[in-house]
Each structure stands twice: as C-alpha cells, then as structure tokens.
Amino acid sequence: MGRTSIFSLSAAVTVLAGTMPALAAWQPQKPIEFVATAGPGGGTDNLARAVQNIITKHKLTEQPIVVVNKGGGSGAEGYVYGKASAGDPYKVIFGTSNAWQQPLVSKVAFNYTDLTPVAAMAQDEFLLWVKQDAPYKNAGDYLKAAASGEFKMGGAQSKDTDEVLTRMIEKVGKVKLTYIPFKSGAETAVQLAGGHLDSHVNNPSESLGQWRGGTQRPLCVFSPKRLPQGAKVTASEGWGDVPTCVEQGLDIKQYEQPRTVWLPGKVTPDQAAFYVDLMKKVQATPEWKDYIEKTSQVDTFLTGAEFDKFIKEDLEHVKQVAGEQGWLVK
C-alpha cells in the first residue's frame, strides 16, 4: 500500500494543481457500473443494489448506475475484473473482507493492493446458530456437547470468514468440529433446518427467515456487546435478546465482516474522493438506516487511514489463523 499512497499523493498534487483554477471536483461523465462480487441475492449484491437505489432516488449523481454480478470464484471474478480495469473510475467494486483474505489462502490473480480502497460501510455480525429443537440452551452447553468431537459445522465457502471463525471457536472452546463448506449462507441455513448439520455461524440476514419460521435459533453473538434491540423477530425475541458469546463463556469478543467498496487501481485521488463523498451522502439518507436495520448490520464508515488500519489489523489476525491451519499459499 505504501508505494501506491506515495504515488497517489504526488498524482494528487499534480491533478490538484491542474484543476485548481476551476475548483471543479471530478464528476462522472458516463454511466457507472457497480460490480457485486457475489451472485444475485447475497449480502454483497443486496448492498450494491441498496446503494444504487438510494443514489437514484436522491439523484446523488446525474449518471445512471447499473449493477452487474461477478461472483464467480467466491468473488475473485469481480476483483480480477477490477484489477483489469485499472484507471477506469466508472467501475465500483462491492465486496467484503474477501478482498484481502482470499489472496492469502488461494492462488487468485489479484490482491487488495491492486484496487483503490473507497470505504468500509456496514459491518455484518456473526452468530452461533443451532437447530430449534437442539437440547442446548447456551454456548456453554453447546461446547460441552461438542466435546464429543462429532459436531458438524456448516458455512459458506472454504477458508473464508465462516471457516476462520469455526477454527477460532475450536481453539477457544477446546473442541474439534467438522467444517462442511457450502456455496452460500442461505444453503447452509437450509441444511441446518433439515438437521444435516449441528450448527453454523451465519450473519443475521442469512438466517432471519429461518429464525422467524422456527427452524433454528441463535445461541450467542460474536460481538463485545448485545445488538441493538430493533423490532421483534419471533413472537418473544429480537436481535437484542441474543446474549454475547463472551457472556456465555465462549471467549471470542469480536468477529465482524465489513462490507467494502473499491475502485480499480490507478484512479486519481479526486475520482476516489468523489466516491467517498458519494458513499457518505448515501449513508446520511433514511433509506440507508432502513437497509441497515432490516439486514441487522452495524452502521460504520471507515475510509482513508482508518480503513487502511482496519485492513492491516484484520490481515494480521487472519494470517495467524491461516498459518496455524496451514492454509497460507506459498
């Protein structure tokens, strides 16, 4: 990242000097493409489409926006596309922490340094879910039962956020779990409902319908404090009633997945600044609040140095888990 920053800084000075007299910041002159690094219907796709709606509704830019899905290869397709579009400020890539985690564990042809970070908007929480009629009432019971070593934990994709969290649970809870990867969180939720798995660690939105429908329930949330109360999900409980995992003796204080926004590499700083500003405007709308509440995510906005720091810290953490598991690509 260091070299890119210096390069962009000098580029910024040049561009700034060039445009100074007019004082007109960069504005898009043709349609903008939002690239969701996931298939239709997933969390990343929903974010891209929600942002598109808000921008269109409030006319935050004059140009039309189209959303395209490039979810092949667990999202690698979209990032590789972003890398290949270097210098093109009309492609905005929506992803997750995948952008820096995936290159660690598989030989994909991109790294997050090939892209220009715009912002991390919204953090998705993780919860520990079990089947509705499972005998255990809290994470402590679950861990005791899991000590038998026969437990099957499902999750979306391999060596991705879900499996990293599973390995963390194994380490902290001193248990052994069989991790079974599926294509998506939705598929995993159905497998748990059918009793083919013992547990999974889905995001709230991925299992919302299943919780309401009484096929599965959350034991605890991997967050330092309980989630905001919000509306009731089932007749008696809402997200705020779910205890934290630390409360229940599963000592993982925080595990979150940021939704991230990127531009291709080699765009100018004022082009990047335009999108940072645009996303800030999106975040100030009531529709955004509504989206955050409906999907039970946490509203955050990290950009610039803060975002950079977040990536570096997360990267260190994942490197450690991946190293212990022997996942790192050589």
């Binding site: 239709p40 590789v80 564990v105 598989s106």
Partner: protein, 512 residues
Amino acid sequence: MDNLAELLHGFTIAVTVPHLALMVVGVLLGILVGVLPGLGAPNGVSLLLPLTFGMQPVSAIILLSSMYWGALFGGSVTSILFNIPGEPSSVATTFDGYPMARDGRPTTALATAFGSAAIGALVGVILITFLASWVAEVALAFGPAEYFAVYFLAFASFVGMGGAAPIKTVVALAIGFAIAAIGIDTVSGSVRLTMGVDELVKGVSFVVAVMGLFGIGELLVAVEEEFHARAVSSKIDWAEVFRAVGRLPRHGVALLRSAAIGCWMGITPGGPTAASFMSYGIARRFSRRGRYFGTGEVEGIISPETADHAAGTSALLPMLSLGIPGSATAAVMMGGLMIWGLNPGPMLFVDQKDFVWGLIASMYVGNIVAVALVLLTVPVFAALMRIPFVVIAPLIVIICVVGAYSVSNSYLDVVMMLGFGVVGYLFKKLFYPLAPLVLAIVIGDKAEDAFRQSMLMSRGSLGIFFANKLVTCLIVAGIALLLLPLVLQLARLWRKPASAAAETTAQEKVII
C-alpha cells in the same frame, strides 16, 4: 381444502385488468429475451428488476414471473430452429426438435414443444397449490448425500440409456467433469485447472459451452456436408399449430411420465436441467419408437419440454418456502423479494398470504396467457426456416458471438465459445455423444460438491449413501438404471446373438 379457498382468493388478486396487462407485457418481453441472443431469462429479469421497486410486491412478482414463463417458451424457439439452446434446460429439446424442424416440420416441432410445456407447467402449479407444505418438508430432508444421489440418478438415467458406445459416453462425461472443475473449488477453496489464465477463475459458463458445442458445431458440420440443400420450404400453416396440439393427448403416457419426473426433480433439488435430460433418457428407453429418437420424434420433444416446465414451475416452491433458489432466474427473483421487503422462508406463507397466493394464481393465468401468445407466434418463427442457409449461417455466428460475449463482457468467452464449436464438430464427426458432456458441465460440479460434503460428514465412509430410506432408494434406482442396458444386452446376446449385433449398428447411426 384451505388451499382451495386461498387459491380462489389469489385469483381475485391475479385476475384484475392491471395484472393481466402486466402478464401480457411480461410474457412478450420474456419471449423476446428468450429468443434474442445471449439474453436469457436471468438477464432479462435482472434488467427489469429496478423497474419494479416502486410496485406492489404482488404486481412486481407477477411481472417478473410472467417474463420467466415467456423466456422459457422463447428459449425453446432457438433450440428447435437453430440448435442453439438458450437455457441449460432446453438442451434436451434440441435432440429431436432440431431434426424435426430441419425435416421441414418447424411448425409441428414448435407447437408440440409449446403445448407439452404448458401441460408440464400446469401440473407443476397444481402440485404447488395442493402440496405446498408437504413439498417444503420433502425438500428439507435433502442433505448432501441425498443431493448427490439425485444427481447420480440423473447421470445414470441418461448415461445408461444413451445411444452411443458406453466407452464414448464415459469419455464425454469425463471431459465434461474436467470442464466443470475449472475455477474455484467450493470444498477446498483452491483454484483449479485455470492453466495460468486469470480470468478462468470464474469457471466456464454453460452458455459459452452450449453455444459453441451446438450452434457453431452444427454449423461446421452443415457447411461441410450439405451446404447447398439447407433451405427448408415450409409454408405458413395455422391449422398445423392446432393439429399438433390436438395430437398431444395421443402421447398421454409420455406426458404423464415426463410431468411426474419434472415435478419430482423440481421439488427435490435436481432442477429443470437434470429433469429434462432424465425424462428424455427414460423416454428413449421406454417409448415404442425409442430407437428413432434423435431423428425428429414427437415424444423426443414432448418428454424434455414437459419435464422442464414441470420442474421449472415446481422449483419456485423451494425458493418461496425455504429461500433456496432452484435456478439462476429464481435467484434474481429472490433478490427482488428481499428488496421489496419480503423474506423468503417458511414464514412467507403465513405472513404474506396475499403475495404467495396471488403469485400462485398468477402462475395459472400467466401460463395460459403465455401459451396463447406463443402459439400465435409459431408460424412467424417457423417462417424463419425459409431463409436460405447462406443468410442464416452468418446470423447464427453473430448470435453465438454476441451471446457468448454478453455473458460477462469478456473476449475470452468468445474465444472459448469458438473452441467449443470445434469440439462439437469433432464430437459429431467421431460419433461421440454431446449430451453427457453438457450434463456433466452443468451439474458436474454440484454433484462433486455434494459428494465431497457427504464424505466430510461421514469421515470418508460410503455408508452415508445407504444411511436412510430416501438416499438408499435413490442410489439403488441409479445403479439399477445404470446396469439395466447392460443386463438387457446380455440377455439378448444370450438368446440371439445376431440380432443384438445388428441393433447396435443401427443405434450407432443415431447418436445424440
């Protein structure tokens, strides 16, 4: 009959002037995207999605699902007329639909396909109406082992009954599996078989493969073999449309069997593609004229079309009740559901009765609207066959190139599509069957994932495939279908060796 009351209530929602108008618009747009190169139902629905944000959810889903019906019908048009399947599920329709159209009977082929498709869809909707809750439970019983068993059954039913030499079928299957393995592997998360080409990380798109294998492959064969005599003289014949539909009841057994296979594969998560292949394979075995399949047999069109639409329709149920999309189009619609503020899942049927039953009622009406509109267009489409080959051939190349490019705006896909064209040509020349290849490309990676997930669950023991009644039945049925031709062959050899040998040569001629 609670459901019947709910359904009648649904009809009061669906049969209103604005909703009927939406159905007509949706179906027409659907036929258009189904026929146009490379658009297809998933793309069409996603293009239309932003327009629906301001609508009532019921109106929005009626518009989108009508477009889906239209696109399903439209997709069969290119399969039959030009041997270019627009959707994975219409591949099997090309096997007899295209030869029949080439034979100068495009009107009959199209009308038969549309008529049987409508019957399939109708059976699917009836199933959804009366067995909604039961169906949802059946789908839940499917874990990885059961998924694998369903895919295994699909492979077995087709492979065991294919017309080509068994070893060639196995080779075609193996190539298909290798192509399906390209890209990121779900179970290990590692990149496979990209051969240093970064873009291949996304895998090989089905559309790219079939456009090349069928469209370009067929073109190359045609150019070589019968360049001069390709124009088909077919007069526009309205009466034949109705005669063809009127002849359908004669094939009642095939219709019922195919609808049953389609519904079964739609509820269990096998999906429309597996359903149409399986139905075609089984029809080939059990039809009295089975040995003529591949030359333009009516039942060879009825079987895959009925099963495809029965499965496509009943596959919407798992989407609504469980939140698992059965097809790419269903996935886009599910995204729409969430944007409209509805959560697909078990509670939808309780919380959103108007929406669910309005949709189900609209499936009845929408399919009737679709089949009426599409039958009216038959003579127009059939007239396309009169265009001389020298004009149509470049058009087919354009359709394939544009179609391959528009999958993900990539030149690599165009190059691969042309490569697949050469493969398709070689397969035809060397009497290798294309169907197992396509089947393996489409469901090969799913079958592989399911198998490896099962192995993870059972820690490597194959016993998981005999762990309960459901999975045991499926696996045993698969093995039986696989061995059936071998047993029959042996039995025949035992009795009269000479005639069996003669039959094998006869079969060699009709290879699909």
